[in-house]
């Protein structure tokens, strides 16, 4: 019934070169390399001192999240429905308004950084 960490270790571990602990038992310990990896996935650059601080804090916070292991499996009766509206043309932002907060624009387009 309870979802142990062993059962989560088999799938997906090889995907995207994830370096997460293969042992799985001591999951809450987070090292600097892991923080850097997650920061890269999230596209947030971190300063070295931030990496150190986060590694320490994440260990504590994830330890605390471990308590979720005690939660019984619950039947979820979510009344989720898609809410659709007719596909009709409505007034929206003008092109000028849509571009008004962009740092750089050209010929009515957003200009982004180079892709590679």
């Amino acid at each position: 019934m309870s979802d142990t960490s062993e059962s989560t270790g088999d799938a997906g571990a090889g995907e995207s070169g994830d370096p997460d602990s293969p042992a799985g038992s001591d999951a809450a310990a987070v090292d600097a390399e892991e923080v850097r990896h997650v920061a890269e996935l999230a596209r947030v650059r971190l300063a070295d001192n931030e990496v150190e601080a986060f590694a320490a804090q994440f260990g504590d916070i994830l330890d605390y999240f471990e308590a979720l292991d005690e939660v019984p499996e619950t039947e979820r009766e979510e009344e989720l429905v898609n809410v659709m509206r007719p596909d009709e043309v409505e007034s929206g932002l003008s092109q000028e308004e849509a571009l008004s907060n962009a740092e750089e624009t050209e010929d009515g387009y957003f200009v982004g950084p180079k892709v590679s």
Partner: protein
């Protein structure tokens, strides 16, 4: 005085409809800075949006001004709503009018402080895990977290969509309820809003202000032991005295148990961080927001922009959310959090079979001193133990002043069944009347 508290990030006016008649004619309102205002910058308390000027207003802002209220400024807040103290704002912390050495609570701290200090008659906040009720409790004012789906989120800068609602803050229950009357109701621009005519048991003609009549004769108030355990003794005493006041006005109390709430804070943070990691992906510096001077490629520029634009708490939550959703950890954290959420929902449903409302301290602690909790995120997260269950269950709740302890405000939280705002408001107004 205004400058001392730092309640506003931007002081700017949107005039209300001068011809409007009714309860909000001539009222002044402070709007939390994550709620869009056309032509007035909306920063979310972040460096990232320091110069962002929305080209449209949120539905709730249009409804307030149509009802005659005048917006007087954009209220200070924890960056992107992430915090319990309004200290993570890039524009400096707000101070608590009750004691300027203490925090006003968060994340709608500027909104609550503006009302408590008399700088606005009303305020709008947003409540993802308690962000309206917490600062209302710490500042000694009234804050309402509506049932999910009652108030439009169109124009609210999203942090955790499945949890957050915009709610009013005011000096009295009746004033807060009158503001809720104005902002509630379906919105074609927000598919998560509900038409009360189509909700079983809800009253589409409800008048929230009229419900503030102080009549609790025959009402049953559930007292969940779990939400009193571990709370500061001074808080518990003050809240118990306020509940005794309800009893003296004819309410009955019944001890109840909500075993699931022991796991609510963890479930809340996993879900909120997961949703935040996705929602905040929009801040890439290309379409809006600050952009770094980076010469790098798209990914490098994106990462550098976000390094410069986001504060520590926002980065912490994006990273933890990304981690909790990543391969190998999704089942361990996110799926278990969804189980906990369903469990919390069931617990409340069962409780409401026996009682009309549930009362507890809003916050288990007295207002923190400035700086006290900043270096210890876990301590700050734990302060949300009593408010987060309500967001997980999508229920309505109110924080009403219960009295003071050591000269500091204490809030009483009253929670009700879905779309039963009227009973929650009625019970809260009886707490005021019993003073």
């Amino acid at each position: 005085m205004a400058a001392d508290l730092n309640a506003f990030i931007t002081e700017a006016t949107i005039e209300g409809d001068a011809d409007a008649e009714g309860p909000l004619a001539g009222a002044t309102v402070a709007v939390k800075d994550n709620i869009s205002t056309e032509g007035i910058r909306t920063t979310c308390g972040s460096e990232m949006l320091a110069d962002y000027v929305p080209p449209y207003s949120a539905t709730v802002v249009d409804r307030l001004t149509d009802a005659g209220a005048t917006v007087v400024g954009k209220a200070n807040m924890d960056e992107f709503g992430m915090g319990t103290t309004t200290e993570t704002s890039a524009f400096g912390p707000t101070r608590n009018p009750a004691d300027p050495e203490r925090v006003p609570g968060g994340s709608s701290g500027g909104s609550a402080a503006a009302v408590a200090a008399g700088e606005a008659d009303l305020a709008l906040g947003s409540d993802t895990g308690g962000s309206v009720r917490c600062p209302a409790a710490f500042c000694g004012v009234v804050g309402i977290k509506p049932t999910y789906g009652l108030v439009s989120r169109y124009g609210l800068v999203a942090y955790a969509n499945s949890l957050e609602q915009i709610g009013p803050i005011a000096g009295t229950v009746e004033e807060a309820a009158a503001a809720l009357d104005v902002i509630a109701g379906p919105d074609p621009n927000d598919g998560t809003t509900r038409d009360l005519a189509e909700v079983d048991g809800a009253d589409p003609d409800a008048s929230y202000a009229a419900a503030a009549d102080g009549d609790v004769d025959g009402l049953t108030v559930g007292i969940p032991t779990e939400l009193f355990e571990g709370a500061d003794e001074r808080v518990v005493e003050t809240v118990e005295a306020a509940i005794a006041g309800l009893e003296s006005r004819g309410a009955e109390t019944a001890e109840i148990s909500l075993p699931s709430v022991e796991h609510a804070v963890q479930a809340y943070y996993v879900i909120a961080m997961a949703e935040a990691s996705s929602n905040l992906a929009r801040f890439d510096g290309v379409r809006y927001g600050t952009r770094s001077e980076s010469d790098g490629n798209w990914n490098e520029s994106f990462a550098e922009t976000r390094e410069e634009g986001f504060g520590a708490e926002v980065k912490r939550r994006i990273l933890l959310g990304t981690y909790a959703l990543s391969a190998g950890y999704h089942d361990k954290y996110y799926e278990k959090a969804q189980d906990a959420r369903a469990w919390v929902r069931q617990d409340f449903e069962e409780a409401f079979a026996d009682v009309d409302v549930i009362a507890s301290p809003t916050m288990p602690v007295l207002p923190f001193e400035l700086g006290e909790s900043l270096d210890d995120p876990l301590r700050m997260y734990l302060a949300d133990a009593n408010t987060t269950p309500v967001n997980l269950a999508n229920l309505p709740a109110i924080s009403v002043p219960a009295g003071e302890a050591d000269g500091l405000p204490v809030g009483l939280q009253i929670v009700g069944p879905k779309f039963d705002e009227e009973t929650v408001i009625r019970a809260a107004s009886a707490v005021e009347a019993a003073d």
